[in-house]
Symmetry: C2
Subunit: 185 residues, 2 copies
DNA sequence: CTATTATTGAAACAGTCGTACCATATATTG
DNA sequence: CAATATATGGTACGACTGTTTCAATAATAG
């Protein structure tokens, strides 16, 4: 007896809260403006998520989920040479449409350096990428369980993203990726 | 006539505030705890620096100055092969003693993505590194004004620092740098 | 209907934040 | 000494924070 719970509301709120965080960033996130933008109240956010920290965790998990889905959609591992695949990854991740995700990645990383206790599984996100990239670049790996090649590829991508988001110099960063591709041959 | 100003106080405060920021990070920086740790008061911090934002700018400038000095001290550009120099840079910047600086770099970068208006010269920091690294790797540059090689080298270093600070896996990141050195030959 | 459970609004609490105001102390010059 | 400029302490303001408390509403079951 009694009124039945509505689990769909929490999910809908989570989806729209993730949109909001991607648009506005994590740094200055505050419950009242978030609730106002979502047409709800801080009261309801806490009712559904328990605390701000848990809400943030849920949002980050959702953002990760979305990113992984988009990546999987746009990167069929069987297409073309390793070089073409690397260029494809770079073109995709460095596109302006991915800027909100890229910013969130760097924001979470920086926040994790300041407050590691909030990110008990921060190494896991890296490991997940390796599984994907390890498979994508299996043919240039030196051994079947080579983690060094994906580490280097990821480092180049993240380092160039750092540069691009700081300087906005797309031409120079694109050419640096060209240079890396040449080295890989 | 009148009591003479004491410019040394501001400098001493700036030096110790920089120590504090390097130790505690930029993210949650607050005037009251900072002043307490420095044995002064928020009142005096604002008296000397005008506003928190100006204090932060001064601290970041000081931290940059220190980093540049340390880098110049530890990296004579004339020593050894390019590969040895790259390994030297990596060994130096990835050492645990540099962790506060590395964290600050990533914190400032992330903050700049969220609030670009606070960092009118954010591209400049990158450019400065290029002057240093461009000189350090002049012999592997393709042309005298080659900016692509330093861009790639810096990207690898920053990308591996991102990885190392997230996973703490020094062995894997070290080996990824080895791999990059092989590619450069 | 009543009982029960979920949902939601309004307000307040306890704290932090950067900063401004006002008075006072201190050190110097004439 | 008085006059003057710098250096400080104390305090409070207004805005914000996450969270809690209290009450009211809504929807279902019996």
């Amino acid at each position: 007896m009694g009124r039945p719970p509505d689990p769909a509301r929490r999910e809908a709120t989570l989806a729209r809260a993730t949109d909001y965080v991607l648009a506005h960033g994590l740094a200055g996130l505050s419950l009242r403006p978030l609730a106002a933008a979502l047409g709800t109240s801080p009261r309801m956010l806490l009712y559904d998520f328990g605390s701000k920290q848990e809400l943030v965790s849920a949002v980050l998990a959702e953002a990760r989920r979305r990113g992984a889905t988009r990546l999987a959609e746009n990167l069929p591992p069987e297409a073309g040479s390793p070089e073409e695949r690397l260029r494809g990854i770079w073109a995709w991740i460095s596109a302006p449409e991915r800027a909100p995700y890229v910013r969130l990645i760097f924001e979470v990383h920086a926040d994790g350096l300041a407050r590691p206790e909030n990110y008990p599984d921060r190494a896991e996100a890296i490991t997940n990428w390796f599984d994907t990239l390890g498979a994508t670049f299996r043919d240039i790996a030196t051994t079947p369980d080579d983690t060094v090649t994906p580490t280097l590829v990821m480092a180049v991508i993240r380092g160039l993203l750092f540069d691009l988001t700081t300087t906005g110099d797309r031409h120079r960063t694109d050419r640096a990726l060209d240079r890396f591709c040449e080295l890989l041959r």
